[in-house]
């Protein structure tokens, strides 16, 4: 009886191993809310060319996508920030691979203000003071005498992390910052609030005042564009990534190759981000 049980269990292991070799053409992509529209457009375009392939795209934030990659619940992780060494180590310990990082697009973290706001330019040090709460009135940065209302993202967002690291120098956001679930919500809030300011991907900057950003106080200000991002003059630009557990093979490899092709990069431009090649 016992021997039969052990033999049955090992037969199950062998069968499961064999099943593990079978290729499946259903891919799941999870992660960055900044990239969710871009990822959906990629998926739609790729599926139209490959009818046998199904790609399911969901958001939730870069942190959520990275956790899903480590837990094995997604095939593709979209991330608007690079994975941390600790996250890479978790992936390595669980799956034996360091993960594969694919740079798919470039983005400039854009500073959104209400169209009625007269402030045209802000420096990185001023942005830090605004978002950490040290400055709380627009008159402190050359604007009208009105309170600054802060809109930002949730802490699972890659944009939240990137902005915190590169603009706030890892200091905490002001407690008055209103956190919103997605860049589109930040843009909508700032459009409705004459005293509002927010940040997010350039792809969402529609119908809003884009504030010029300078690296230093008194320096030349820039808005994100293909030119200012590629020549490095826009001070808060970043890559948008795809992370995979293993080196891609089969349909997954075809999909990644296609994203990096002229066709995939054209979609990057259509959505409002900047192609990497």
């Amino acid at each position: 009886m016992y021997k039969k049980l052990v033999l049955t269990c090992f037969a199950l292991v062998v069968a499961a191993t064999a099943f593990g070799f079978m290729p499946l053409d259903i891919l799941t992509a999870k992660g960055s809310d900044t990239m969710v529209i871009l990822a959906q457009r990629w998926a739609e375009a790729f599926q139209s060319k490959h009818p046998g392939v199904s790609i399911r795209v969901t958001g939730g934030g870069s942190g959520t996508g990275i956790s899903a990659l480590i837990n094995g619940t997604t095939d593709i992780c979209n991330a608007s920030r690079p994975m941390t060494p600790a996250e890479k180590d978790k992936l390595k310990q669980r799956f034996g691979t360091p993960g594969v990082e694919v740079r798919t697009a470039k983005d400039g973290i854009t500073i959104y203000a209400n169209p009625s706001n007269p402030v045209k330019k802000l420096s990185i040090p001023q942005l830090k003071k605004i978002f950490t709460g040290e400055y709380n009135n627009w008159s402190q940065v050359g604007g009208k005498n009105a309170p600054i209302i802060l809109y930002g993202r949730e802490n699972s967002s890659g944009t939240y992390q990137f902005f915190k690291e590169h603009v706030l120098n890892n200091e905490d956001y002001a407690s008055s910052t209103q956190t919103l679930p997605g860049t589109a919500a930040v843009v909508n809030a700032v459009i409705k609030d004459p005293n509002g300011i927010g940040y997010g991907g350039f792809g969402y900057a529609k119908g809003i005042h884009v504030v010029e950003v300078s690296a230093t106080e008194g320096g030349q200000g820039y808005v994100p564009s293909e030119q200012t991002i590629s020549n490095g003059t826009y001070p808060i630009s970043r890559f948008l990534y795809i992370y995979l557990r293993n080196r891609p093979a089969g349909v997954l490899k075809d999909y990644i190759d296609w994203i990096l092709s002229a066709e995939g990069q054209a979609i990057v431009k259509q959505v409002g981000f900047f192609p990497i090649r």
């Binding site: 016992y2 052990v6 269990c9 090992f10 292991v13 499961a16 191993t17 593990g20 070799f21 837990n71 094995g72 619940t73 095939d75 060494p85 600790a86 390595k92 310990q93 669980r94 799956f95 034996g96 691979t97 360091p98 594969v100 990082e101 802490n155 890892n170 200091e171 905490d172 407690s175 008055s176 209103q178 956190t179 557990r245 293993n246 080196r247 093979a249």
Partner: protein, 449 residues
């Protein structure tokens, strides 16, 4: 006259209209103010709620439950010759039930409390506070009950690829956790090169009250070989040590010299008779290979060597001669009035090696060999008891992952070192076969939340 009346009526009408319009404007303004105040009040309430939610979000509750079914081939220890045995033969058990509560205050502070709950006991495992004064994860201090710095110890039991830690690790780092303080640093010296340094001072007594003044100094350094982020081969190397001791009042210790246990001067502690040395040095390596299309491969292992003191064979008392005769020891005189036994210090070594193959993202097959020599100064006929024997365990298993669940099947085959088996055969301890039937099968269901 008629014209005058018409003008008066027109003037009255205009004045009435103006008055009505003014009234309407006033009402509108008042309504606008009320709406503005209501919105402002709602905004304040939302801010308060968000602040409360932020506090709650800083508290994270996680944990896991491991429920086992275990079958033991052997139900008796056969006089110390069976490594795995259980008189129940087959049984269910809660191997671990952990709930971890973590409170994080930004990048500055972090506190963790983790009890272990099983069907027979509740015990404290982790309970520590971590401070990162520079608000980065590069440098920090840990205070309380936390894992001793060692590769297999620091890996959560819920992530271990074998059903339990290796024999030598369980001996060198019993209970895994200890009370003390640790400084650690994990700087990114250059891109993709993050060495990790840990230095801890701990009681050396596990997560229970300290019984003596002696402390253990434990250190570990790990670093990756910089092969590049794109390389399909990643190699991590590391080394760790533990230096501590336990007290004794005798002026000699028992040690194995030329295969015989005898009393010798306690010279390893610099002539100080007050304590017995506990020390070990370990080297480790983990190799990660992304070469096969089915999934990543991991080859990893650690070699540990050192000495462990244990209570000697002498009785306590004013003046005691120990074990002369069958064990061949010399006499050990315990100082008058002392209640302590002389310590027996054994040189030991052990190692473990894993071969892990992932097959897609839901199946992992594992082979592990784990060897532990309890007394490296004895071999062959010299081994007379299990306390000096060497044992190896070959473990074979598979893990199935499904969302938060992990189903594990694990089969263990213990063996004794060849020379000692020969020794026992020569003494007639084992007559029918060299290998005692003490294999063990475990089926585990783990839920992690």
């Amino acid at each position: 006259m008629y014209r005058t009346i018409c003008l008066l009526l027109a003037a009255m009408a205009v004045s009435l209209q103006v008055g009505y319009a003014q009234e309407q404007d006033t009402t509108k303004t008042e309504g606008g103010d009320e709406l503005g105040e209501a919105v402002s009040g709602l905004g304040d309430r939302v801010t308060l709620i968000e602040n409360d939610v932020d506090v709650l979000k800083s508290i994270k509750i996680s944990g896991y439950v491991q429920a086992d079914w275990q079958h033991n081939d052997q139900t008796s220890d056969l006089g110390g010759r069976a490594l795995y045995y259980d008189s129940r033969k087959d049984f269910f058990q809660i191997r671990r039930g952990r709930i971890k509560v973590q409170a994080k205050y930004g990048l500055l502070m972090n506190a963790v409390v983790q009890p272990d709950i099983t069907e027979s006991s509740v015990s404290l495992r982790e309970a520590y506070a971590e401070i990162t004064p520079f608000k980065t994860e590069d440098l920090g201090f840990t205070f309380g009950s936390f894992n001793r710095p060692n590769y297999e110890v620091e890996r959560s039991s819920s992530d271990l690829e074998s059903i339990d830690r290796s024999q030598v690790v369980k001996t060198f780092y019993p209970t895994e956790y200890d009370l003390g303080v640790m400084v650690w640093s994990h700087p990114e010296l250059f891109e993709n090169f993050n060495p990790k340094f840990q230095l801890a001072l701990q009681n050396g007594n596990g997560p229970v009250a300290e019984t003596d003044a002696l402390k253990d100094l434990i250190g570990r350094v790990t670093f990756p070989i910089p092969l590049g982020a794109e390389s399909p081969v990643q190699i991590d190397l590391g080394a760790s040590f533990d230096y501590g001791g336990i007290p004794q009042k005798g002026d000699s210790v028992l040690k194995t010299v030329d295969g015989v246990t005898k009393a010798v001067a306690n010279d390893e502690t610099g002539g100080m008779a007050g304590w017995g040395n506990r020390k070990n040095f370990n080297v480790e390596s983990q190799i990660f290979l992304d070469l096969l299309p089915i999934g990543g491969t991991i080859i990893k292992g650690e070699f540990l060597t050192g000495s462990r003191p244990a209570a000697g064979t002498a009785a306590t008392g004013a003046s005691v001669a120990v074990g002369k005769g069958s064990q061949g020891q010399d006499s050990v005189i315990v100082k008058a009035g002392s209640a302590a036994k002389p310590l027996q210090i054994r040189n030991q070594m052990g190692y473990y090696a894993y071969l892990i193959q992932n097959v897609s993202n839901w199946l992992q097959v594992v082979a592990k060999y784990d060897y532990y020599d309890r007394n490296t100064d004895m071999s062959g006929d010299q081994v007379k008891s299990f306390s000096d024997a060497a044992t190896g365990v070959l473990g074979l298993g598979a893990h199935f992952f499904c969302a938060n669940m992990r189903f594990s099947l694990w089969y263990e085959i213990p063996t004794y070192a060849k020379d000692e088996v020969a020794a026992r055969n020569s003494k007639g301890d084992i007559t029918s076969t060299d290998d005692v039937k003490d294999n063990r099968t475990t089926i585990r269901v783990q839920y992690k939340f």
